[in-house]
């Protein structure tokens, strides 16, 4: 048979394995929601990926979110999941010869899309650039705050998600929680995102933002018209980004994005890239256009142009 020491060793090994197994199972159980948690917490925990939901499941998910948000914010909140419109690919134009850097778009976006006020999250960043140096990002200033804009010798370039046709952010996601929709909008499933922030590192435009803390969003400032992939209130620990105001633009008829609507100088243009008579095609064909960081081959659908 075996001598004593060998038997002891085997016995020890067996018991060690058992202990480790038990430990792992225990930790696994700890990660589950508490047994007395509300049913909606369990449902959230076991929710499928957005694109794998059947129609009925999606309906249930939306209803659950609506009831949760309505309770939290003390008002009726609607959560839609309007699908892309056939034959539409969204494009955006921004007239650099018009923008005066007033940041109206930044705050228009914050209010429309329910961004966290504290800690602050803003999807649009307006850069102040030197006319002498041109579009030279290393000379860009984000925190300019003169009494009036524009200031002598400067021009302004708002940067937000460029809705790349070849998006680097979606490729690095280890759980496929972010992808490009058929209408070209790059979206995030906040319920699937694990918060690893690889996408933020991959994005060359700084367009993705992380919810470090529970967002402080005053109840009376909530925009109750929300979309599952867009401006619904976000949980902590997920990444969010511009969605071309998916909750507005996917409707029939679809309103212009909030940033377009609020711009006092009319520098912002939005439309369907596949419509040959649309404003985006017009500006691409008739104006001087450039795309940001073209050399990275991200193929943005966001076109900076000079109308004059």
């Amino acid at each position: 048979m075996c001598n004593d020491s060998k038997c002891d060793k085997q016995a020890f090994q067996k018991s060690r394995r058992k202990v480790l197994k038990g430990l792992a199972a225990g930790i696994g159980v700890l990660a589950l929601p508490a047994p007395d948690a509300a049913a909606s917490v369990w449902e959230t925990f076991f929710q499928k990926h957005f694109r794998e939901l059947t129609r009925d499941e999606l309906k249930k998910v939306l209803a659950r979110l609506e009831s949760n948000y309505s309770k939290e914010f003390g008002q009726q909140v609607s959560v839609k999941a309007t699908p892309p419109i056939e034959g539409v690919k969204f494009g955006y134009g921004l007239d650099l010869s018009r923008c005066i850097g007033c940041r109206r778009c930044v705050y228009g976006c914050v209010t429309e899309n329910n961004q966290s006020r504290e800690p602050q999250i803003q999807w649009i960043r307006v850069l102040q650039l030197d006319k002498e140096k041109g579009v030279s990002l290393e000379h860009a200033k984000h925190y300019y705050n003169p009494p009036e804009v524009p200031t002598e010798g400067h021009f302004y370039m708002p940067v937000q998600c460029q809705q790349c046709e070849n998006p680097p952010c979606t490729k690095v996601c280890p759980v496929q929680a972010t992808w490009m929709e058929k209408d070209g909008i790059v979206v995030v499933d906040y319920n699937w995102c694990i918060g690893c922030r690889y996408c933020m590192a991959a994005c060359p435009y700084g367009a993705r933002h992380f919810n470090w803390a529970k967002s402080k969003l005053p109840k009376e400032e909530l925009n109750p018209n929300t979309h599952y992939l867009g401006n619904r209130p976000r949980p902590t620990g997920v990444v969010e980004k511009c969605t071309f105001c998916i909750q507005r633009t996917r409707e029939q008829p679809g309103r212009y994005p909030a940033c377009e609507e609020v711009c006092p100088v009319g520098a912002r243009k939005f439309g369907n890239l596949l419509d040959p008579k649309g404003e985006i095609r017009y500006l691409i064909e008739n104006k001087r256009v450039f795309i940001l960081k073209e050399d990275l081959n991200t193929q943005p659908k966001f076109f900076y142009f000079y109308a004059t």
Partner: protein, 204 residues
């Protein structure tokens, strides 16, 4: 041949009569004057029809100063004075900063009917179509404006759109866009954790 001629003649007469009734119906205009009396008068076709009529550019009402329109409220009883001069008293607050050496009031405003604007070719246009006036010099801007590239256009990207008149953003007498106060800059990342500031309402 004779019958045909007669028939076509009667047809022509009939059509003319029909046309005349239509025109006479369109030519009568009814409105209440400032004393509240009903006035029925022949309608005068004030504005000529133009080539692109029917293409609509829906705009909000022109941005008149309070109580300034209709101009005829004051001007109706005044003797028009076509002489180029510096205005004193009324309208002296308007400082022309728009190729002022080359033009004055009556190059755009109409001498005999102040409620209309006047194009260089003599056509009258209402204030709601003032873009035609601006487009006489700024043709490239007008072209861009019509397709929604110049100026702000709101509404629906795949539906009805709302335009703005040039004058909504540019004071016609001093058209350069006026500077604005910027909204607050973002919080610097190094200040985000240290500032336990109360949530400030988003400025509107």
């Amino acid at each position: 041949m004779k019958i045909n001629l007669r028939r076509s003649l009667s047809l022509a007469i009939g059509l003319t009569a029909l046309g005349a009734t239509l025109i006479s119906a369109a030519e009568v205009e009814k409105f209440f004057d400032r004393q509240g009396n009903l006035v029925v008068q022949e309608k005068v076709e004030k504005y000529k029809r133009r080539a692109d009529e029917g293409t609509s550019y829906p705009v909000p009402p022109p941005p008149f100063s309070d109580g300034i329109f209709p101009c005829s409220d004051c001007h109706a009883g005044m003797e028009p004075d076509p002489e180029r001069r510096e205005l004193v008293g009324m309208h002296a607050d308007i400082i022309l900063d728009h190729a002022e050496g080359q033009r004055w009031c009556l190059d755009c405003h109409n001498l005999n009917d102040r409620d209309s604007l006047r194009l260089v070719n003599g056509d009258l246009i209402p204030f709601t179509e003032s873009y035609l006036l601006c487009g006489q010099c700024h043709g490239d801007k007008l072209r861009d404006w019509k397709v929604g590239i110049h100026g702000k256009r709101t509404g629906y990207w795949n539906g009805e759109k709302q335009y703005l008149l040039c004058a909504h953003c540019h004071d016609p007498h001093s058209p350069s866009f006026k500077p604005l106060a910027p909204m607050p800059p973002p919080i610097r990342p190094e200040n985000i954790r240290r500032e336990a500031a109360p949530v400030a309402p988003v400025p509107h």
